[in-house]
Amino acid sequence: MSILKKLFTAVKGGVNEVGEGIVDANAIRIFEQEIRDAQDALSEAKRSLTEVMAKEIQTSRAIKALEDDIAKHETYATQALDKDEESLALEIAGKIAELEQEKSEQQQILNTFSANVAKLKEQIKQAEKTIVENQRQLSMVKTTESVQKATMAVNDTMTSGDSAMASAKQSLERIKQRQMDRQDQLDAAQQLADESNDKSLHDKMREAGIGEDASKGADVLARIRAKQNK
């Protein structure tokens, strides 16, 4: 059964209570050991593979040398026949037969090596797949364990803090209120900034004698005199 399925069954069955492990620590250790064993086996298989591949190359090389030798002796045989050296040609032919026998033996060895290489490669692929798969499953178990422990830690903190009693709705209200307060503060600050901008503009305008506030003492006096004279 896959770990995820086990977890699912455990959660369904309510095993996922705080403090109760879904997969016991011992099982995790065994699982980790299995992964390590598989990794050892894998590196062993890889070492064997390089050895066999080296032998495969050596044998191929030997076959190639034999083929060259055969070709060379065939030329000798032709030359002997050309010179009517019938018995020498026969002797050379005998040598060729010998070489061919040797070549076919080497070929059989090569076939065995090639088959071994293919088999080892397949085994390595399988082992790698198994290791990755096991590591993925182990990571699920460990994450579940960490989350469980973290939940315990969090529960401890929350029950001792003030946020413990508040319902989600109350929390949301408080957050919204805080966000609104912050926005109001920002708005107020902006308004203040705007006003002080306005004020400094007015100050400058007054200095330059522009705008409504530009009336000066002299003007006021002139206005009062004008009233008296009426």
């Binding site: 996922n16 994450t143 989350v147 969090v154 319902s167 709705k169 109350q170 929390s171």
Partner: protein, 136 residues
């Protein structure tokens, strides 16, 4: 990044207009970092680290807070909201509904910061979206 290192760095870090406060919890042999974004201590983000990943979890509400007869409808809604919600997914831990995001253990401070800010915003949006299913 180790959690205690993250804790120190976050306290001096500001991103996307958000500020962080963080508290290190280690009372059951599992290190947890409690991160509060922008003073929203009602919805803290809990960061844990495993061999493979960094998990950021925000608890939303308990099963008991769901209005009667609305469980199935709520679950259906959450599954539908799962994909459009950026970077986070809904989850259930014991009897608590949560949203969480997972990152590689090689994540940078910027990536972790972005995840935490997004998770915090998502958690508020998610609660807002489903508050009709919850009791007071």
């Amino acid at each position: 990044m180790e959690l205690n290192e993250l804790s120190i760095k976050l306290s001096q870090y500001e991103t996307e207009g958000a500020s962080f406060e963080s508290f290190f919890i280690n009372n059951v042999g599992q290190e947890v970092l409690q991160v509060i974004v922008d003073g929203n201590d009602e919805l803290p983000i809990f960061v844990t680290r495993t061999e493979e990943q960094v998990l950021c979890i925000c608890y939303l509400f308990t099963e008991q807070e769901i209005s009667a007869d609305k469980h199935a409808e709520l679950n259906d809604t959450l599954l539908r909201l799962n994909v459009p919600m950026p970077l986070s997914a809904f989850a259930k831990i014991d009897n608590k509904y949560a949203i969480f995001g997972a990152l590689s253990t090689n994540s940078t401070l910027e990536q972790l910061g972005h995840e935490i800010v997004t998770l915090s915003a998502n958690s508020i949006d998610a609660l807002d979206a489903i508050s009709d299913y919850l009791t007071e």
